[in-house]
Amino acid sequence: MSVTTHDDTHAHDHHDHGPAKGFMRWVTTTNHKDIGTLYLITGLIMFFVGGAMALVIRAELFEPGLQYVDPHFFNQMTTLHALIMVFGAVMPAFAGLANWMIPMMIGAPDMALPRMNNWSFWLLPFSFVMLASTLFMDGGAAAAGWTLYPPLVLQTGHALPFTVFTVHLLGMSSIMAAINIIVTVFNMRAPGMTMMKLPLFVWTWVITAFLLIAVMPVFAGAVTMLLTDKFFGTSFFNAAGGGDPVLYQHLFWFFGHPEVYILILPSFGIISSIIPTFSRKPLFGYSSMVYATASIGLLSFIVWAHHQYTVGMPLAGELYFTYATMLIAVPTGVKVFNWLATMWKGAMTFETPMLYAIAFVVLFTMGGFTGLMMSISPADLQYHDTYFIVAHFHYVLVPGAVFALFAATYYWLPKWTGHMYDERLGKLHFWLTTISVNICFFPQHFVGLAGMPRRIPDYAVQFAEFNAMSSVGAFVFGFSQLIFAYVIYKAIQGGEKASSEVWEGAEAHGLEWHLPSPPPYHSWTEAPAQALISDLH
């Protein structure tokens, strides 16, 4: 991905420098594409690490009885799997896409704060090494679930302070990335690129960035209180000292609910870019998409306790959170309807990015349905903490967020590398992934409703068939991802040259398609011509 050549149309004789050479290029880089690449590769590596842990979990759950791991280790796996997938795979991958695409999309040469950009990335590898090292500490890694609820989490051995510090570092990294994105979008748009002309990917990331800045400090604060409870004699979450364990849950979910939208809003942006391109039609309801995203962002701050319907809140609280949560389904529905209307009477083709985008619409909606069901608090007294919840959030996160990342990778890979990826392998990856993800997660709805709690290493025999099915799906899913890694590797190595437009008619859908493939090291050293911007859909 190292490109030093000038693009003809933007070449000027002012001095332009390419990247430094060798390993130090990556350590010292302040270039948005280099940093984007680092983020994306980190995300992919952590996706495999977190995935390996998922396979440990699914292997143990393949049949009743304990076959491979001790229950305590099992709990460490569920905890680390979730933390790694959320903070290690999905969030860095989105940050990588933001870094790569936002300057290209808004007509800027780079991100506004390049040095901070470097720092925000380089915090990550150290945090993840530290988190992984907790597995080898006395007492093992944190085993209280990714929600780190006290008092259980206070039983963690030496790993607790390291886990908390990891959260602090990841939070700092995310906040810096968020600040960078906001400053870039507000200050570095090319002349004529008004806010209401921004591609939805940029809009959704701006809103995501505000969510990040608002909630990461709350999470950091909550885990710090865990630390002081454990080591400095405070009693924030300890009833014996006048505290309340449920206070932690309120703090956690005040972060946690917006966090799940942090994981999905950029996906909405990606899907809103891809569907118009392959439908050969402008996005339907651009402004309603912007408003829907903003209202989802705002609503996400006032629904947190729908994760706590069973903690014994007062009735009024219970009802308030029910109504507020149900309300989120409205803007979410608007998004889905707009995507359908975009496809309607288009001239669709089904390259891999589009296949993933369509699967996203179908399967994310499935997660939306279960979300709507769980928002009904009396019914959630049954669903809560069962496999039904596990099915819900995996539908929104895997065929949701992760499919959006796959779609984005296939969509922009030719732009990044200058080579077309292998379409046959891409389609194979798509079908294997889509079929296996459903074999894995669909049966979990059933076992959940039939009474299987989540976070257990062993289960009653009536759940055996569906669990076996789920495990088979998980293994096929896991190994199919090797194809994905190979497709990327192959496209980086070479392949059919990609044009600057890459996809038929893409030029009308974003400024990035006006740069050559691969684009120059500094994206838009000169503002794009007004005509380019006014011709965008």
Binding site: P71, L152, F284, G285, L381, P453
Partner: protein
């Protein structure tokens, strides 16, 4: 594309199957256990109805959304030579698909509110039972005068399941009756009485959940939460802890036996008689063999989770009993440790009767090849409490 269609059709068939599946029993076996049980309490019926309503609403919206999508995928493709339309806005449409879902939600919110109000109404109950979650067992205390007041016991995973669930036990779970859903001593309640359940926990969060009763609720150390049940049909109902509570979270089931009023009275009388006998027992001396035999049972349901069935412990987490300094050291220190606990080791002075405490200590000193040879009598336990 045909594949997509097949996939979609598959989904809806399955969903259809769920909706029509026999919903009477949540303990169905194999492929039959697909849906929420309709339950045996008024709340559970209401909640099941809400669940089915919202499920059908989702199915309806799903058919519409996926139908439109599939139609579009078939007809609006470039390979059919379609010229793409250029429309990209329609305010009326946007308003329609904002308002209609909103109205559907209001229609759902009304029954949901009604049910929630009922679920929260724990007033005018006939009796109260306090449930306390421990790592990893439940304690049941009957609080109502005339309805078993004073009955107080622990309930943990039954010995058969416990043996089978050990890593590498080589016992096929399918051969164990009610694997992981059976306890040594179930909760017993009368049918058709409004029973208020008070929940709390001794160590970490737990959640008490019997699906057939319709709800679960968290048990929070230092706080009391509550709920109520009024079971219509006598029978045996099974559930599990639903809030992650550490290593053996998956192994602390709940079993509730619901008896008719008369049978319940008999059970209460029998429990009372046993309690009295227990008090007498405590003053009766037991032989070493009797203590060891009884201690083995007590050990299996109280200690084995951490210290291992063979007293082997878990290296660097839970100490072994086999060859342990405490079990082979002074008797007094051993008894004190068991009764009062230390760090992660819970205090057992309330869990165990004097007989049980004496038995388990004696077993630990003489089992696993420890062969210390000494023993303690139930009557001597009081002195250490």
């Amino acid at each position: 594309m045909k594949k997509t269609l097949q996939l979609l059709a598959g989904f809806w068939l399955v969903l259809w199957g769920v909706a029509n599946a026999e919903t009477g029993s949540g303990t169905g076996v194999g492929w039959g256990a697909l849906n929420l049980p309709a339950g045996v309490t008024p709340d559970s019926h209401d909640i099941h109805d809400l669940h089915m309503t919202i499920l059908w609403i989702c199915v309806g919206i799903g058919i519409l959304v996926y139908g439109i999508l599939v139609y579009s995928l078939i007809h609006h493709r470039k390979s059919k030579g379609v010229v793409p339309a250029t429309f990209h806005e329609n305010t009326k449409l946007e308003i329609v698909w904002t308002i209609i879902p909103f109205l559907i939600l209001i229609a759902m919110a009304i029954p949901a509110t009604k049910v929630m109000i009922k679920v929260y109404d724990t007033s005018a109950s006939d009796m109260t039972i306090k449930v306390t979650g421990y790592q990893w067992k439940w304690r049941y205390e009957y609080l109502t005068e005339g309805e078993g007041k004073g009955i107080d016991f622990f309930s943990s995973l039954d010995a058969k399941s416990n043996e089978a669930r050990q890593l590498g036990s080589k016992i096929d779970p399918a051969t164990v009756e009610h694997y992981l859903l059976n306890v040594d001593k179930p909760l017993v309640i009368p049918a058709n009485k409004k029973i208020r359940i008070l929940l709390t926990a001794a160590d970490v969060l737990h959640a008490w959940w019997v699906p057939e009763f319709g709800w679960k609720k968290d048990a929070i150390p230092g706080f009391i939460t509550d709920g109520w049940i009024k079971v219509e049909t006598p029978g045996v109902y099974r559930g599990q802890c639903a809030e992650l509570c550490g290593r053996d979270h998956g192994f602390m089931p709940i079993v509730v036996i619901v008896k008719t009023e008369d049978e319940y009275k008999q059970w209460v009388a029998a429990e009372k008689a046993k309690q009295d006998a227990g008090k007498a027992d405590a003053s009766k001396p037991l032989s070493l063999d009797e203590l060891v035999a009884k201690g083995k049972e007590v050990y299996a349901s109280n200690c084995a989770a951490c210290h291992g069935l063979e007293g082997e412990g878990v290296p660097s987490v839970f100490p072994a009993i086999k060859g342990s300094k405490v079990a082979l050291g002074p008797l007094a220190d051993h008894v004190k440790l068991v009764l009062h606990g230390k760090a992660a080791m819970p205090a057992f002075k309330e869990h165990l009767s004097d007989v049980e405490a004496a038995a388990v200590v004696t077993y630990q000193r003489n089992g696993f090849g420890n062969n210390k040879g000494d023993s303690i009598q139930p009557a001597d336990i009081q002195a250490y409490k």
